[in-house]
C-alpha cells in the first residue's frame, strides 16, 4: 500500500493523504478508548467490558450507574485529557526547541507546577482544589519566566532549552527546601502529588480541562503547517511566508497552558510528554511534528499506565506516575536496542 496519496477534489483543490499516519491515529484512538473501558471495569468492584458499555449507554442498574458515572468515568476522562494534553505539549516543545529532549519535564515546567503545589501544601496546608490552582499558577509563571529570559531578538531553540535547565535547577532547589521544611504528613502528601496520580479525580477536574483542550487543540492544529516549516529552520520558514515569532509565541503559550493545566489536574506525571511524541513519530514514520498522533498516543499511554498501576499494585496503592516512570525506562531501553540493531547509533 502506498503510504502517501494525493486526493484531488473537484474545483482544482488537492491535498496529501498519509494513509499510514491516518491508520496509526485511528488505531491509537481505538486503543485509548478500549483501555478506558477496561480501566472503568477495574477496581474493588470489577465489571465486565459489556457491563461498562451498557452502563455508559444508560442501561445499567443504580449501583453500576453510581460507580461508573460518578466515580470511575471522571477519573478516566481526566486521564485521557491529561495524557492528550501532555502528548501535545511535549510534541510542541520538542518541535519548537528542535530537540527530542526538549520536553516540559526537562524545561522545568513540571518543576514549576510542583513548586506552586508544594507551596500550597506545605505553607498553607490547602485543599486539593487550592493545590491544583497553585500548580497551575506555578506552571504558568515558570513558562512565562523561561520565555522572557530566553527572549533576545527572538527565541532560539537551543537557548530555550538551556534557560529552561537553569530555571529548572533553581525551582528544583526551592522544592527540595520546601520538602525539608515541611512536617512529615505534608511531605507524604507532597510526594504522592509529585509522582502524579489520578486517584480521586472527579467532574470538577474534567470540565476545565475539557474546555481548555476544546479551545487549544484546534488552535494548535491550525498552526501545524507553520510548525512543519519552522522545523526546517527559522530563515527557510520566514522565506516561505511563516511569521515565525508570532507562531512560536502562540504555540509556546498553548504548550505551557496545556502542560500546566494537565499537571494541575494530575501532578507532574513523568515521561508521557517525552515519550508520546517520539513513539507516535516512530509509528507513523512521517516527518514533521505529528501532532494528532502525539495527542492520541499520550491519552492511550496514560490510561494504560493507570490500568497497569491498578492491576499490578492493587487499587490506589501506588499512583500512575510510578508506572509511567518505569515504562519510560523500558521505552528508552527498547529504543536503545532497536536503534543499535538498525545500526543508527
Amino acid at each position: 500500500m502506498k503510504s502517501n496519496r494525493a486526493v484531488r477534489l473537484p474545483g482544482g483543490l488537492s491535498f496529501r493523504l498519509d494513509v499510514r499516519a491516518l491508520t496509526v491515529v485511528v488505531g491509537l484512538l481505538a486503543a485509548a478508548l478500549a483501555a478506558s473501558v477496561v480501566l472503568i471495569g477495574t477496581g474493588d468492584f470489577p465489571m465486565s467490558a459489556a457491563d461498562v458499555l451498557r452502563t455508559l449507554a444508560g442501561e445499567g442498574n443504580a449501583g453500576q450507574e453510581l460507580i461508573v458515572n460518578e466515580l470511575r468515568l471522571p477519573r478516566v476522562l481526566v486521564g485521557l485529557l491529561v495524557g492528550a494534553s501532555l502528548g501535545l505539549g511535549g510534541a510542541l516543545f520538542q518541535s519548537v526547541s528542535r530537540n527530542p529532549l526538549g520536553s516540559p519535564d526537562v524545561l522545568g515546567l513540571g518543576q514549576g507546577a510542583t513548586a506552586g503545589a508544594l507551596t500550597v501544601i506545605v505553607v498553607f496546608s490547602g485543599t486539593a482544589g487550592q493545590v491544583a490552582l497553585g500548580a497551575l499558577a506555578g506552571g504558568l509563571l515558570t513558562g512565562f519566566v523561561i520565555y522572557v529570559l530566553a527572549w533576545k531578538r527572538g527565541v532560539h531553540g537551543y537557548r530555550l532549552v538551556l534557560v529552561g535547565i537553569g530555571v529548572s535547577a533553581v525551582v528544583t532547589a526551592v522544592n527540595g527546601y520546601l520538602l525539608t521544611k515541611s512536617d512529615i504528613v505534608d511531605a507524604a502528601r507532597a510526594v504522592v502529588w509529585m509522582t502524579g496520580s489520578l486517584s480521586g479525580r472527579d467532574w470538577d477536574q474534567v470540565w476545565p480541562l475539557l474546555a481548555l483542550c476544546a479551545v487549544l487543540v484546534p488552535l494548535v492544529l491550525a498552526h501545524s503547517g507553520a510548525l512543519r516549516m519552522m522545523e526546517m529552520g527559522d530563515d527557510v520558514a520566514y522565506a516561505l511566508g511563516v511569521r515565525v515569532e508570532r507562531v512560536r509565541l502562540v504555540l509556546m503559550l498553548s504548550a505551557v497552558l496545556l502542560t500546566a493545566s494537565a499537571t494541575a489536574a494530575a501532578g507532574p506525571v513523568s515521561f508521557v510528554a517525552l515519550t508520546a511524541p517520539q513513539l507516535a513519530r516512530r509509528l507513523t514514520r512521517a516527518p514533521g511534528p505529528n501532532l494528532v498522533a502525539a495527542v492520541c498516543m499520550g491519552a492511550a499511554l496514560l490510561v494504560t499506565a493507570d490500568w497497569i498501576s491498578q492491576r499490578a499494585f492493587g487499587a490506589d496503592q501506588l499512583p500512575v506516575g510510578v508506572v509511567t516512570g518505569v515504562l519510560g525506562g523500558v521505552y528508552l531501553l527498547w529504543l536503545l536496542v532497536t536503534e543499535r540493531r538498525a545500526g543508527r547509533i
Binding site: L149, A187, V322, G325, G329, L336
Partner: protein
C-alpha cells in the same frame, strides 16, 4: 593569561576555604583559624576549626570531583548539556540509599556512604554495559543512562510513598549537604576522590582527540574505546564518591564546565584544571552562604548552589553564544 587566571582562581579558592573554616554558628577570626590550623593547643577555637576542617576538605574535593566529572562527561558525550545525573549515577546512588534505609535499616549518614557508592558504581557499570561496552557511543550511553534513571526514580518514588521513614530521611538526603562531613565519612571517600581527579586530569589529551569526532580521532591514532572506558570510570568514581558523601548535588557539574568553556575555549587541558579549581569555589561559597542566611540553622548546600548558580547560568546563556563543543 590563562595561567594568571588559574592562579587568581586558586587564590580565590584559598580565601573561600578559609572563610568556610571561619564562618558558622561560632564566628572565628582569621587569627584563631591560623592558630587552629598550624598550632592547635586544644582551645575552644581549635576544636571548632578541627570540626569545620573535615567539612571544608570534603567541600574542596567533592566540588572538584563534580566539576571534573561534568567536564569529562560533556567531552565524552560531545553534549554540552551532559551532567553526572545523565548517566544514571545520581539515580543509582539514591536508589541504593533508599534501599539501605527501608530494607537494611541503616540510619547513620556514614552508613549510607558505602551503599551510595556501590549503587553509583553498579549503575555506572550497567550503563556502560548496556551502552555497548567496547562499542559504546555517546548516544547509546546517554540513552542507557536515561533509561536506568527513569526506572530507578520510579522505584525511589514508590518506596517513598509506601514507607514514611524512608521519606523522612530521603527528603534531607536528596537535596545534598556537606553537613555529613564527619571525619569517618570523609576518610572513606577521600582516596576515591583523589584517584578519580588524577585520572580525569590525565584524560585531557585523549579527550581532546575524541572531541574532534570519531573518524578524526581514529585517524590521529587515538584509542577511542580505552578513552571512553577510562572516562566513564573516572566520572563514575568521582561522581559516585561525591554523591555518596554529600548526596546528589545537582548543577555544579553542568554549570562550571559551561562557564569555564566560555573563557578557555574548547581545550580540555585548560577546562579540566579550571573546573577543578572553580567548582569548589562555587560549592564552598554556597556552603558558607547557606550557614549565614538562616543562622543558627543552615540551608543545605545543594539548594544554595542551584539558587546562586541558576541565575548566573542563565545570564551566561543570554550574554553570549555559549562556546559549542
Amino acid at each position: 593569561m590563562r595561567v594568571l587566571g588559574l592562579l587568581v582562581s586558586a587564590g580565590v579558592l584559598v580565601l573561600v576555604a578559609l572563610a568556610s573554616i571561619a564562618v558558622g554558628a561560632k564566628e572565628l577570626s582569621l587569627g584563631e583559624v591560623w592558630h587552629g590550623l598550624f598550632g592547635a593547643s586544644g582551645t575552644y577555637g581549635d576544636v571548632v576549626v578541627a570540626d569545620r576542617l573535615s567539612r571544608t576538605v570534603l567541600g574542596l574535593l567533592a566540588g572538584a570531583a563534580l566539576g571534573l566529572a561534568g567536564a569529562v562527561l560533556q567531552a565524552l558525550t560531545r553534549n554540552p548539556l551532559a551532567d553526572p545525573g545523565l548517566l544514571g549515577i545520581n539515580a543509582g546512588a539514591s536508589a541504593a540509599v533508599v534501599t539501605a534505609i527501608t530494607f537494611f535499616g541503616v540510619t547513620s549518614l556514614s552508613g549510607y556512604v558505602w551503599f551510595a557508592f556501590l549503587g553509583a558504581a553498579a549503575i555506572g557499570a550497567l550503563v556502560w554495559f548496556l551502552g555497548g561496552s567496547r562499542g559504546a557511543t555517546p548516544v547509546r550511553l546517554v540513552l542507557a543512562g536515561m533509561a536506568i534513571s527513569a526506572a530507578l526514580f520510579g522505584y525511589l518514588q514508590a518506596i517513598m510513598i509506601l514507607d514514611d521513614a524512608a521519606l523522612g530521611r530521603m527528603r534531607f538526603w536528596t537535596v545534598g549537604s556537606l553537613a555529613s562531613g564527619s571525619d569517618a565519612a570523609v576518610k572513606q571517600v577521600v582516596p576515591f576522590l583523589l584517584a578519580g581527579s588524577l585520572l580525569a586530569l590525565a584524560l585531557a589529551r585523549p579527550l581532546n582527540a575524541v572531541a574532534m569526532g570519531d573518524d578524526t580521532a581514529k585517524a590521529l591514532g587515538a584509542n577511542l574505546n580505552r578513552t571512553r572506558g577510562l572516562s566513564m570510570l573516572a566520572a563514575t568514581v568521582l561522581c559516585g564518591a561525591a554523591t555518596a558523601a554529600c548526596g546528589p548535588i545537582m548543577f555544579v557539574g553542568l554549570m562550571v564546565p559551561h562557564v569555564v568553556r566560555s573563557f578557555t575555549g574548547p581545550d580540555l587541558r585548560w577546562i579540566l584544571p579550571y573546573a577543578a579549581v572553580l567548582s569548589p569555589v562555587l560549592l564552598l561559597g554556597a556552603d558558607v552562604l547557606g550557614r549565614v542566611v538562616a543562622r543558627p540553622a543552615e540551608v543545605q548546600v545543594g539548594i544554595v548552589t542551584a539558587i546562586l548558580g541558576g541565575p548566573v547560568f542563565i545570564f551566561l546563556v543570554r550574554r553570549r553564544r555559549t562556546a559549542q563543543l
